[in-house]
């Protein structure tokens, strides 16, 4: 009966982002949601424990607004949540996130398997999973499109550009997953209501032992802009002229 941890990021719902003049982006009306691949990760973790027993702990890290993610995450099946919340985590980069998660994982107690999404829905840096594994000193399997849990470890099918690689690892292990691994369920109304009764542990950066360099920004966002797309209504006389116009535009 594996003890499984699943990590998720509470990201801005990209459907709500509005682009204004000059590519300016407005996040004012944007809601938040669990990052897409992380939903697959949560579902994979929950399915493993539904089939084999064990329990799932969901962990997230971010600014104070991440608190409202707990019921959403818990309605999807995990038994408990640990939220690492601190204003200093609001724009945490991959390293800070991995450091915070490492401390949070230690609070969760003994574990066999950690399942993360391959990358987050906002920046998709694919950094946190491998960094977390490194910091915990456990093996990491990335790009898992299929995940099977045995009595002592996991077998994962890694979907790579040039084929599928099947790898095994003994517990404890961290796996980052692709959407194919498990289709997220729509939680039922009773699961949503039941989520309010589950345990949520909230810790801040100090409680996790993070300060100074660990929290220092390693990069700075200079600007965020929407890609510009203009509809150019070019009229051409014949197919040859069309081909030339396209070739010219592509060049």
């Amino acid at each position: 009966m594996p003890n499984v941890i699943t990590c998720y990021k509470w990201v801005i719902d990209e459907a709500d982002i509005r682009a204004g003049g000059g590519g300016a982006l407005s996040f004012e009306q944007a809601g938040r949601k669990i990052s897409e691949y992380d939903r697959n990760a949560i579902e994979a973790a929950v399915q493993i424990c539904e089939q084999q027993g064990g329990s799932v702990t969901a962990i997230s890290l971010g600014g104070p607004e991440v608190k409202s993610s707990a019921k959403d995450a818990l309605s999807r099946g995990p038994e408990r949540a640990i939220l690492a919340l601190d204003p200093a985590f609001a724009n945490a980069d991959s390293q800070t996130t991995a450091l915070g998660l490492t401390a949070a994982v230690k609070l969760a107690g003994a574990y066999d398997l950690i399942v993360c999404g391959e990358g987050s829905g906002d920046v998709y840096a694919q950094q946190v999973g491998p960094r977390l594994a490194e910091l915990l000193g456990i093996p990491c399997i990335t790009f898992a499109g299929k995940l099977t849990v045995t009595a002592t470890g996991v077998v994962a099918e890694r979907k790579l550009d040039d084929g599928v690689e099947v790898v095994e690892a003994a517990f404890p292990v961290l796996v980052t997953v692709l959407p194919d691994v498990a289709k997220p369920r729509i939680p039922s109304l009773k699961q949503v209501m039941g989520a309010a009764k589950k345990e949520v542990k909230v810790v801040d950066a100090a409680a996790l032992g993070l300060a100074g360099d660990a929290l220092a920004a390693r990069f700075e966002t200079k600007a965020l802009k929407a890609p510009a797309s203009n509809r150019k209504q070019v009229k051409v006389a014949n197919p040859v002229a069309l081909a030339e116009a396209i070739a010219g535009a592509v060049r």
Binding site: S68, K71, D72, S75, I186, P187, S188, L189, K190, Q191, V192, M193, A195, A196, Q233
Partner: protein, 378 residues
Amino acid sequence: MFTLTEQQELIRNLVREFAVSQVAPIACEIDDEARWPAETIKAMTALDLMGIPFPEQYGGSGGDYLSYIITVEELSRACASTGVILSAHISLAGAPIYQFGTEAQKQQYLPDLAAGRKLGAFCLTEPAAGTDAASQTTVAELDGDDYVLNGGKCFITNGDHAETFIVLAMTDKAKGTKGISAFIVEKAFAGVSVGKHERKMGIRAAHTTEVLFRNARVPKANLLGKEGDGFKIAMVTLDGGRIGIAAQALGIAQASLDESIKWAKERQQFGKPIAANQAIQFMIADMAVQVQAARHLVYHAATLKGEGKPYSKEAAMAKLFAAETAMQQSIKAVQIHGGYGYIKGTTVERLMRDAKITEIYEGTSEVQRMVISASVLR
């Protein structure tokens, strides 16, 4: 005024996700074929949607009333037929049993309804007793330990798939409305049958049939309330049902706005999207205001009911306004779509057909005005 709780938002999200992924994609097809969406009902059962406002001790989900209303709204936004199937099941069948049933009746009937194992329907309307619901000709006569029902009901939502009916019938014609009684009737009882299926203008996937009683024997224990309570039970039930229909109308109105915005941005004429025209912009602005106003009335009525406060006038206001909003906005949505909006298979032509019924059933708009004026002129 209405800030949803975190839980209500999550419930709305789950229903919206379900509606977008599983209800909307088949809405056009089931409308066209007038096909009962059995697969949707099964999925709604798995999501605990069939008994939202009933306590867990009766097999319900223990949700709040507004969450139920938001559920009907979101389902109807994708498919108004699906919305009314749920509204009739919960508001018109489960609710009167929960509100007026004995403990034994609740234990016997609510768990199956709330868990979606059985579907419910409400049998009040007769060919000659529509708005004049007091002119019931279905009779119930006591014979030993049973009432024997004879008569025919028409326009019964869920009529063919329901297994549990709330039936209104005359037990004492001399007493007029005070001679009407309500019964819980199982389809399995001898003498109960489903008659003609109606072919309708809209909400075609929600089946509407006759339900007939020929010497149907209903145990005395299935009398809901006391003899003569039927008319009151029916009126109170319809008060609640109106909020469900208001939510259905709200969903249709919201969908009309959604489709109009999408189309106005996509559709190019004279080298620019039609949304660049002030005529379209103003139409959409007006639609957005009407929809939001309707939402406030509907949520307000639902909140009052959920809090156990009087809500009869507010339910009538919500139903009247939301129904007229659905009708008007769906007409505008077709107008914005131009010729495309008149073609079968587009969402807006369905919305316009579906909207009309909300001004008619569970009390016409004229009846709502009677209820409202009687309340404010008192």
